[in-house]
Symmetry: C2
């Protein structure tokens, strides 16, 4: 039995590890396009901030660690074609050498590629022009080289999502003046604007210049640097800097599977079932290239490292003949922005509405621990529940570092997984000691506020 995984990131490696864990006799080969298997892409901003050095530290496991589990690695090798009926994968090595691998089961984890969001110039300009994306270790080295070579004093970051915010912090830590351009009315548009505003204040407090409502049209190289042509609040406006970093999202990298006959679904990602089967015989797929089964939404596209790990694990088990199922995402996400932590799980109001729920959302503020104990800090919480069924639909939290906000969102994530009602959150037996919580934890104070506002008292009891 020979299992082949394509992709050295979370999905491919998780599949390979799981297969070897379940059956140490199975042959497993992982085909990796570059020389950097199992690198933590999520950690790249901390390399640029200087917090993680050297870059090799970003590896979850070294190539030697991986090989010690018994898997084979084919590095610097591109998977060019899948011969589905022949159970054969065609490859091209670093020097253009063609070869192939026969497989019994294939797991495709080709991930995603940076999106350009229709911004003119991003396709033509590159690292040598001071224009960067950041998605692979190759991108990382190119940006690192550029920073070292030119020592830029100013940078424009296009996008204020997770990576954009983390890179704003990283550049600021290096003494680079950051201007952050955000299309929407508020930064971190994956959270409600009331919470995004707290993140924007944190950016301001650390010297980041933020322009929201700014649609970038194009990037141009000029004799003195780079100019970003944009429309801010409806009026044309140019922004100039020494360096431009575009982090405007990703698009699934589906070319290989599409050519093999796979179908695309939500977000133009490859359709898979909950066993991570593509529908092509013995071809599984997982990670940022495939649709996401979501416990509240059904099929969607929501590329996240945690999901890629889970999907890869399922694919690896099933490639071996198992019957594992991906239990579904609830969309839990968290980001640290300077000293602030912003997180969400489940659906926001408008997402819930679109999904057919009858959502109501309540904003509240609760201390992370008893106020009488030193260092208490407010956590801002937004709870979305269903007015008709009383079901918990989503939660968003923003608190300062040290408020255990990242793991408080996990309580909601677990409640969502279990399908609990908003009222049942008050029934949860959560931990309490004055330095670290309250008899009713902040997560319960927030759901009780929701119930007071949206329930005829006792209606869902």
């Amino acid at each position: 039995m020979h299992i082949v995984a394509i992709g050295g990131s979370d999905a491919g490696i998780s599949a390979a590890l799981r297969a070897r864990e379940l059956d140490p006799t199975v042959d497993v080969t992982v085909v990796v396009a570059d020389a950097y298997p199992n690198y933590s892409i999520c950690g790249i901003p901390y390399f640029f901030s200087g917090e993680v050095q050297p870059w090799q530290s970003l590896a979850h496991r070294t190539a030697a660690d991986l090989e010690a589990t018994g898997m084979r690695l084919r590095l610097d090798t591109l998977a060019t074609d899948i011969d589905v009926s022949g159970h054969r994968l065609h490859l091209r090595g670093a020097e253009g050498t063609e070869s192939h691998l026969d497989y019994d089961a294939l797991v495709v984890g080709t991930g995603a590629l940076p999106a350009y969001a229709g911004i003119d110039g991003l396709d033509r300009l590159g690292p040598t022009d001071g224009v960067h994306v950041i998605h692979s270790m190759g991108d990382t080295f190119a940006l690192g080289d550029d920073l070292n070579a030119r020592n830029p004093r100013s940078a424009i970051i296009i996008g204020a999502g997770y990576v954009g915010l983390e890179m704003a912090e990283a550049f600021t830590a290096r003494g680079i003046q950051v201007t952050q351009l955000q299309r929407g009315p508020e930064v971190l548009s994956t959270l409600d604007a009331e919470l995004g505003a707290l993140v924007r204040e944190e950016l301001h407090a650390h010297g980041v210049i933020v322009h929201t409502g700014t649609v970038v049209r194009g990037v141009e190289k000029t004799p003195t640097g780079l100019t970003v042509h944009a429309v801010t609040d409806g009026a044309p406006r140019d922004y100039t800097a020494d360096l431009v970093l575009a982090v405007v999202g990703v698009r699934p990298n589906t070319d290989l599977l599409q050519r093999a006959g796979a179908s695309l679904g939500a977000g133009s990602a490859v359709i898979v079932d909950e066993a991570m089967r593509t529908g092509l015989p013995d071809v599984f797929a997982a990670g940022d290239g495939v649709i996401t089964h979501h416990r509240l939404l059904g099929q969607t596209y929501l590329p996240l490292g945690t999901t890629a790990h889970k999907q890869g694990r399922v694919a690896g088990e099933n490639a071996l003949g198992g019957a594992a199922r991906f239990a579904g995402s609830v969309g839990t996400q968290v980001v640290k922005v300077f000293d602030l932590v912003a997180s969400r799980t489940g659906l926001r109001h408008h997402e819930a509405e679109a999904a057919g729920f009858a959502p109501a959302t309540t904003h509240s503020v609760a201390d992370d621990h008893k106020r009488y104990y030193p260092g208490a800090q407010p956590i801002s919480l937004r709870i979305t529940g269903d007015r008709v069924t009383g079901r918990l639909i989503g939660a968003q939290l923003v608190g300062r570092l040290g408020t255990e906000t990242a793991k408080r969102v996990d309580t909601y994530a677990t409640a969502l997984f279990a399908g609990l009602s908003v009222d049942q959150v008050s029934d949860l037996d959560l931990s309490y000691t004055p330095p670290l919580g309250s008899p009713w934890d902040a997560v319960q104070i927030a759901t009780q506020a929701w119930s007071r506002q949206h329930t005829r008292l006792g209606a869902h009891a």
Copy 2:
């Protein structure tokens, strides 16, 4: 409609608040034995450490706050007898004045009293002798006065449970040399000894002298101070200090309800149903004086502030004619000891065995966040699951302050509440960002370790 609550602590006040929240027209009176309603007993150690000053800060709400909700307070008033058939409560005021209150529904929250664990002298010696317990604001003032008056340089703390450990930290912060005497083989006997040992190391690191395996026989006042007569590891041994604090647990304060005809159950606490009814007509009870409905154990006695809040809330709603149910504890507890956080939820191995489960327990260690990001710290975790059903039964965690250990236990608590299996913890969509977690969170790394050890792989999938 007149609802009377007895007891100014968590249960009584929660009942009163809930009744007034649900029906702002209902008359509510709370009978409080002392002058300090709604004080945070859990916060007392932080008053002695100096972190919380003045003592008034320990009030969750002031008397004025409480009265602003529309409830009446009868302070310094002891409930002496319940005339069940007459729906009348007999009272004695501070100066011995007898009176009564007629009620439509009564909620008894008389709580617990310090236990003496058969230690000779604890019944005779008191604050003026330098011998203390710590359970009420009165005890707090007495200990505070003694500390101020005599400035003791050494203290023996009998007991190394939650309060004993917190008080060891508090006395140490005041420069008092603490000797802690613990009956069992390890401190914090509510956790497995492997984790208690980490707590003991933390005590040592901060200069606390710990004697485990030490059964205290008696406390004696001598011309030079206090002597504690004990047997340590089977041999008689005396310990001397300027002050003795006994924190060896509590016993339910059931006298009033017993005389009214209520029945006692687990831990000699008053039996109540899940609606917090005592069986006596229109008499509800909640808090540390009553048995605890536990989702894994059935009826037990497990006095905790969080539970008292929940039970009181249920009692308040039902006193008003509602149909609320206490959903049941899973025994979630957490304590901060210097810079360490120790927590548990659910059952430990021997408890699970006694309750008829087929437990297996796995110890593991996982980083609180990605190791490459600065400041990663190990969390020690012990997972107990059922070998036959695969169900999660319990979790214990010890990590340093800042590792979000207190809120990580809440993920397990929520999973226990929902009846998830150990394997399903890996299905949970938990938050991840490198500074605050891992793609598989520490809580999942621990359950995966359990599954590797105790599951035929895939058996519970």
